[in-house]
Structure formats: structure tokens, C-alpha cells
Symmetry: C2
Subunit: 360 residues, 2 copies
Amino acid sequence: MSAAPIVPPTRVLAVASHVVSGYVGNKVAVFVLQSLGCDAAALNTVQFSNHTGYRHWTGTKATAQEISDLYRGLKDNYINDFDMMLSGYIPGAEGVLAVGEIAKELKETNKEQPGNFFWVLDPVMGDNGNLYVAADVVPAYKSLLSYADLIIPNQFEAELLSEVKITDMDSLAAAIQAFHEKHRVPHVIITSVSISSPDIPEGHLCVVGSTMTSAGRPRLFKTVFPSIDCYFCGTGDMFGALVTVRMREAAAEAAEGAATAGDVHVTSRASWLSDDAVAAVDLPLARATEKVLASMHEVLTHTKDAMQGVVDRTLAAMTEEERRGDKQKMLAGKKAAELQLVRNLDCLRAPQKTIEVRPF
Amino acid sequence: MSAAPIVPPTRVLAVASHVVSGYVGNKVAVFVLQSLGCDAAALNTVQFSNHTGYRHWTGTKATAQEISDLYRGLKDNYINDFDMMLSGYIPGAEGVLAVGEIAKELKETNKEQPGNFFWVLDPVMGDNGNLYVAADVVPAYKSLLSYADLIIPNQFEAELLSEVKITDMDSLAAAIQAFHEKHRVPHVIITSVSISSPDIPEGHLCVVGSTMTSAGRPRLFKTVFPSIDCYFCGTGDMFGALVTVRMREAAAEAAEGAATAGDVHVTSRASWLSDDAVAAVDLPLARATEKVLASMHEVLTHTKDAMQGVVDRTLAAMTEEERRGDKQKMLAGKKAAELQLVRNLDCLRAPQKTIEVRPF
């Protein structure tokens, strides 16, 4: 009957888009963070009526100056004491750089205790070969990689940032190695891998992650699981928010184990880097990935199961003429594909599904 | 172990302010609505770094046009199918009227099934004799009262809107009667009553509510409970969000009872008005008020208990010079008084405290 917090007290600055209706960006992230017990500060980079997948929307974007001003307001009031930051969609390169300045400042503030601040960077730029931001956003993100603790690009974004074309498991590993070695990114998860490989059967998805060793070498793990045959918006944002909380949880658990053994806490180290002796599949990042994917699988399954009902009810509420329109049918489908988060709190907090990572 | 939704599927349009850090306005309402199972559409009327109680803040306000545009975006995409609306702080009279237009349109859309849309109006204007909005906001709210289903003013706001000076229990009843008879507001709760009365012992608070009969006569109930001696921001917003969900829950329960007895569902009636035979203390509004106040008592108690710790940690993170400053001490206090919502999910969902309403 208890709905106790899942993590120790954690203040997270969540920087992403806001939509009035539906679930993408901070509308996903803030609820996920909060319902697992994090104190989420929500800096909204846009306020749109709905996500852009509906093709038509209204609303406004925050300028880079407005983003910086909001952070300054927090700082002036001594309420910028964040344990973590999760950044998602930011409109334009100047905005990306403004968010980067926030991360740099929080890193600098915590330089004596570098484990006290952890940045999860979701470099939202595009998917499946399509860039949906301005071209200058790519170098902006590239310039910030070395300040991130964990990056969670999809395959396309990983290619843009690593400059490694991902065509098979070897090039995938090479891209992750580039993040570790060239950009000194400690933790990497490639959230959606679509390559043809004997390891990935038809209709399956692959997620690959790695935490570097002290020498900057990758420790790769992967998991392959049946995909849900449906296009949902906001899945990347759900991944980001869940991994933020679950990484905190897994690192805190590892720290507790270390305390019992008289070792150094993983959370007192910069970027919560595990001992070199820890194998890939035993990393806090691996534990976090398993729980994140289990929650996502359950939420997406419930969403898919409810879709036809939402379409039927939406069309039933229209006039007969509207109901025949292709646009109206498309819109009913978009509404039905909105993530069913709030009525599936159990899936977020305590997923029953088991997903296990394996060595790469 | 279950975190099942508390209400039937309910889509709520929540119109209020947004703060990046802390808990007032939609930052309270959206989490409360969501964690009890409502699909909350969040239309943010401002984005500020923090609430204005800190005295300094940064951010931007939405114009009346921007509010209207956001709603138009929802309508164009057939995602304005709201069961309820909760409106809180809106900057300026034009904005208030823009939100009123949204309510009027949703009322009109549902005129064949008037129980399908319910507006909870929190007329945020001031407190304890101080108006903290422009003077023309008062007539703007007054012009909208007849479209509201439930209004939740504090004593000062009730006086402004009813034009009845509240000095004792009789004038309090007269103010509520004015809302029912003159403005045809079906449900009223005065959320904080501070009058000297033998019914309200020193250090206690009084909340009074009423659902009118079909003849527009009040059915008054009250509850008196020990106050928590501390000033918190966002309590009105927490009340509004909780009462939105609990009113829906109580009306659905009453409807279920009616279905068993072969009677008309309360939720199929305009404004969910109970039969005239239902006594004041048996109203769905009374049931809702009890649960709302129980949750609030628990959250405020936990917040107060944690305050000194937050102050100590905030001051400890400052330089020695800062720590001596009066402004810094004030700011640490403001931070410590932020509602502790996210780590007290149980208090919101399943309060243990019992609060009972009595006949007025």
C-alpha cells in the first residue's frame, strides 16, 4: 500500500519542452521524476498546445536569454542546489549553449565534490536519418559532450555526434568508444539501434550501453527485446527521465554495498564511475537500463492496448462529416498514441517485467 | 502495493502559473491531479523561476492572446475533450476573461449532456485583506461566476465576489447564499475562514461549504480543525487540485449508489447536483472536503517537520558571509516552506487522518 520514494532525496533540473495536452518532453519527464520521488525543477523550453506530430500546434518558444534568466532567478534565490540535470529538447543552438552554461556552472560549483552533480544529456536532434533541428545544433551539442555524465542518443544522434557511421555491432562499439575516448563521456546508452545483425532478430530492438573504465575503455552491455509495433512520441523523454532516477537508485545501492565493504562510495566519485573491476553487466548503468526498459515495455503495452478505444471514442465525438475526414482519422490516431502514463503509476514505480542485459 | 487510479478516466484542463523550482500553481496542481490518476492538460499562464514570496524572480507571463491560441491549438486537434477544468492564477483581467471564454465554450459543447463538463474556479485575487492582482480582475471574475460549477475562494476573495463582509457565521452563510442565489454557483467552499466565533477555538481553522438545492437554497457544512502554525505558499493550489479529483470521485460514488437504487446518476445532472433530499453532511462536496483536508493536513505536517533540516542544509551550503545575511536567512526559510509533495505520495493518494464535516 506504500508509495514510498524510490531514491534518496534528489533535486533534478529538468530542461525540455512543455505541451499543454499529451506526453512528450517535460510533460513526461516531470511526472516520471516526481512519481519516483525526485524534486523536479521544470524549466520549460517551449509551451506548445500539443506535440508537433499532430502537424499543427500553437504556442511559444523560450529564447536562450529567457532560459539563462530563469536559471539566474534560481541562483539568486539559492535554489540552484541540483543533484542532477536532465536536458531534452531545446530550440536552437543558442538555447543548447545556454543550457550548457548551466551545466558548466553546476559542475564548477561542485568541483570539490564532483559526485554531487550528474548531467544526463539527451541530445535531441533527430531520428531515422532525419535532422529535425537547425544544423548548428549539432556542433553545439558536440561542444558540450565533455561536460555530460551520461548521454542517451538514439542511433542517428550517436552517428552525428561521434562521426562514426553505425552499420553493425563493430561500428556501434566504435561510436561508443569515440564518446569515451575523444569526448570523455563516462556513460553512454544508445537507445535505439536498428542494424541488421544476427544478434537482433526481426521485430526486435537493441539497446547498447557502456560505462568507461578509468583508462577510458568501454564496458559494453546490450539487451535485445521484442519491439512494440507502433509509433509513439515521447519514448525518448520517458527513457531519459526513468534512467535519471534509476541511475541514481543503482548508484546509491552500489554505494551502500561499498560502505558495507569499507570501500569508496561510487556516488562520491566524479560521474559515479564504478571500479575497473566491475564487469559491464554488473554496472549501475546496466541495472538502471534493465528497470527503465521494463517500465517502458509495460507503459507502451498498456498504451497500445488502449489505442483502439481512444480512436473509437474520439471519432464518436465528431460530427459525421468530420469522422469521414482523413485528417480527423490521423488526429484521432495521434491522440490514441499519447503515452498512458498517469493511469499506469505501478509500471513506472515497480515494473513486473524482467529485462536482462548481456555482455556485448 | 497497487497505485491504481482513484477516479474514472478524467481529462482535466489545469490553467495556472508555473514555477521552475518549488510548488505553487500548476506545479502543485498537475502533480496532484496526475498522481491521483487524472490526465492533466497543463496550460501555464506564467513561467517564473520561483514563486513571488521569495520577493525576486525571473520569467515571463502569457498574454490573453497566447492563452486563447493555446486553447485553439487543442481544439483544432480534437484534444479539447475535457471532463473538468481547474483554473487558478491568471495574470490580468484579459487573461481571466480568455479563460472564461474557454469555460463557456466547453459548457456550450456539452449543453446536451451538461454533467459532462465541470469547472472548478479558484478566483485567485488576494488574501487577508490584500489584493495582489489588478483591480479590474475582480469584476472579470464576477462576470464568470455563473459559468462555474464549484468556486473555492478564501474569505477575502469571497467578500470581494459576494459583496458581503464576512464577520461572523451569519454573514458567512449570507455570502454563500449570495453565490447560490445571485450568481447561481452550485457548489461553494470558503477555504479559510478567520472570524472570531465560539465555534472556532484559538489556533483552529474553519472551512465552510455548501451545495445548493434545486431552489438555490444553501446546504451548509463546516469543519473546524487545528491549524499548523506556519505560512506555506501553494496551499490554495493544493486544495483546488485535490478537490477537483475528490469531487469527481465522490460524485462517481454517489452515481454508483444511485445506479444500484435505480435513480438518476448525479454525474448526469448539470453541475453534479445532488437530490434535494441529500443532507449537507452527506453531499459529495462534503465527502470531497474531508479527504482534501486530511491530505493537506498530512502534507503540511510533513513539510513543517522537515523545515528546520532544509534551512540548516541551505545555510550550510552558503559562504560564511552569506550565512550571516538577513536576506539569505529569509530565502532559506522560503525554500524550507515549499510543500513536500513528491515524497509524500501516500498522503495525497490515501490519507490516514480522519477529518469530518458537521452541520453548519
